[in-house]
Subunit: 444 residues, 2 copies
């Protein structure tokens, strides 16, 4: 039905070129080492926008442009500190903590209060004001280590980080301290966003390393634990930033858009290498690989580097708003935001009335992709493209191996050195191959 | 046909227990940090034999015993050194080299000679004595980076290391220098075995880092390159060592043996963490996981820690000889010797007359294993079990993701810190699950 031999050959060539002439590893080095952390609204994010624009100008797009969006501006300030104070068992001892993104600071004096350990938001509700007021609420439900897909374990625990401070504040807590989102036991606190406070009752929110969380839990079984926390987060006035977009107009079906993207912003504590430098360079690699094998897009190809995924999604929202207003149709949109590890495949989702057909088509291509270790599952794509669902196209998430992702996610260890060159290149080749098939054959 | 629900539940439990109560990561820490490198015949290998015997004594085997084997004893001596000498372009400059296992030393003065670059053994034949005599032969055919399975790329290049010195010696070369077996470009030389010289015309054999190899190749394009090499390898008299074997007699089919194993020896330059500490602790983990889910072996289960896989295979040979002499039948033998990375599945091979049936049975179990990311391919198992083929059972190789393996293989970076806890535990669970099915249902 398809030119299977021709396509098998083209895909083999995509992998060969990615593994021998790929640029993505060097681009990632530039993003991590020359630019560094890229929290929305920061100088790093601004540098990344203009540097990536300049790079895209050299890659053969018809047009490269900046799409404005207004992003929140959060500043961590000086590093947070935490310690167990005058404890009956251990005396005074440091804790490895970090301020959570969007959170307010404690003030220079910090906060000293007894902690109470809870394992869910509901538990805080049940404790109510009597149990919570004046305390530091310590959320300690671990990510479930038995989930084979670590993102599911993350999804099952991250409400504590995202919303814990809101409910704790409602009952008069002084601060929250959240167990880091990882199944590793180590000394590294993981940052990440808390939902911005909407009613003005914001309290400081910090995370503690998993080893620190285990220690607090042990000590609480033996008696009261008082903790001192000091953090310096500030929410500054929003500023303008940009998505960076490159486009090639389709030669046959210009009104069908095929999008690939990742997010250009990152947390401020590492280099955003896996999250989401990998997704950025995966996305940038697609067009050059198509060029190397002589494939010219039949459909309009768009590479979008989204801004502010981590703490606001302003870039995604701006993109969807413009796209919907212009009555665009994204036949397929693929986001890479799960790291630069060995590819395992893709997951896909879409509007119910067309999803099954799109997905069937993709499954027909499996024999071409299985030799490269790729499979398909339904469910989940990416935050930055989620708002395109109403257009009725297929939304796809790139799914690399997830076992090591939460060793690095939102920490100081998410650096270039922890990305493997071959694994990164294989990811770029996998994405390029799938989008080659979609561009060539369409979906329905 | 099978109790698929019951088995799905049992396998889920195996994974849960491996990920929450597994011991393999701690055992690997012990093997790497308390014992360290374990080249056959070395004090480390001896310590490993007795330490693993003591550990196995606690794991619930019916019998644990040592099986003697006579192993070669190679000693690296002081670290090798290499340098480019008086070169017209770069002057004198150090090279990152290491002596290859089993190789003889250069003597304390070392060897200084012009190098000639070749890309195959055949090329040495073609050059003959006129081209080769008095020279250092530099084997520089890279591992093919476009192979998705890196072991295939290794297989396509390793003849240069294994046999290059034999043919070079035949034509009067003074030494060989072999490009390291990795697709990475870095400064780390990889050791590994050369075939022992059988005719007394042994010449020194060293490897050079891939960056060093690239530099030599560039310089050779500009003119003569002379290199100085100094190495100190010595082949000492063989000594006695042991395989370590634990056995549980099967309750229903005691004459059908199900074997799991890895090799206890390692190279001397790292800690043998992936190669093959991972395989050792994978193998040790099987019986404890069966115990945790209440599975008692119907067939005779044997866990074998083989000695001397790296530079002689004496342990494997001793095991096959004894097994064949006793007319044993290994229904299935599985070796883990591809590292502690995320499991991708298994490969299997066997005697032609029964392989297809065995393999068909295994394929029926795929729906139970696919949720854990496991698949099957035919072809290849493991060196230590290869001699069991004549018994007619199925030989299986555990196949984790291979992308990072040759970053560490046979180098000083093959250390505990480069093994990920979850990836290691998932490997143990995968092997335990497959062997659970084989033990429960048999193969034919």
């Amino acid at each position: 039905m398809y030119g299977q031999n021709e396509d098998a050959f083209a895909i083999r060539e995509i992998y060969d070129k990615a593994l021998t002439e790929g640029d993505c590893y060097e681009w990632l080095h530039h993003l991590c080492k020359d630019i560094g952390p890229r929290l929305a609204g920061s100088p790093g994010a601004e540098a990344a926008v203009f540097s990536m624009k300049r790079l895209m100008d050299t890659l053969g797009f018809d047009t490269v442009y900046l799409q404005p969006c207004t992003v929140p501006r959060w500043d961590r300030g000086a590093p947070a500190s935490g310690r167990i104070v005058n404890n009956a068992v251990v005396g005074t001892e440091n804790l490895d903590v970090t301020a959570l993104g969007n959170s307010v600071g404690t003030g220079p004096e910090g906060i000293t209060a007894p902690i109470i350990e809870v394992f869910s938001l509901q538990e805080v509700e049940q404790l109510g004001r009597d149990g919570v007021a004046g305390k530091i609420v310590f959320f300690n439900r671990p990510m479930d280590p038995t989930q084979i897909q670590t993102f599911r374990a993350y999804g099952g625990a991250v409400d504590q980080r995202g919303s814990g401070h809101v409910i704790a504040a409602k009952f008069g807590a002084r601060a929250t301290l959240v167990r880091s989102m990882t199944t590793s036991l180590d000394d590294i606190p993981h940052t990440g966003a808390v939902a911005p406070s909407e009613d003005g009752f914001a309290i400081p929110a910090l995370s503690v390393s998993t080893n620190g969380a285990e220690k607090l839990s042990r000590l609480l079984r033996q008696g009261e634990v008082r903790v001192h926390l000091q953090s310096n987060g500030r929410n500054l006035p929003p500023v303008q930033s940009f998505n960076v977009i490159g486009e090639v107009r389709g030669s046959e079906f210009p009104d069908e858009i095929v999008l690939v993207g990742g997010h250009l912003d990152s947390w401020d504590v590492g280099e955003g290498a896996h999250d989401d430098g990998a997704g950025i360079v995966h996305s940038l690699q697609v067009l050059p690989l198509w060029q190397k094998i002589g494939h010219k897009p039949k459909r309009t190809f768009r590479c979008v580097l989204f801004m502010n995924e981590e703490n606001g999604l302003a870039g995604g929202r701006a993109y969807w708003a413009a796209s919907n207003e212009n009555k665009e149709f994204h036949l397929a949109a693929l986001e890479s935001d799960s790291g630069g590890f060995t590819p395992r495949g893709f997951s896909a989702t879409g509007r119910e009335d067309v999803f099954t057909d799109d997905y069937r088509k993709i499954n027909e291509w499996l024999p071409l992709l299985e030799p490269y270790g790729l499979g398909f599952t339904s469910g989940g794509s990416g935050a930055d493209i989620s708002g395109l669902k109403s257009q009725g196209g297929l939304l796809i998430g790139f799914r690399p191996d997830s076992q090591r992702y939460f060793d690095f996610h939102h920490t100081k260890t998410d650096v270039f050195e922890n990305v493997n060159k071959r694994e990164l290149e294989l990811g770029a080749a996998s994405i390029t191959s799938l989008l080659y098939l979609i561009d060539k054959y369409g979906l329905r």
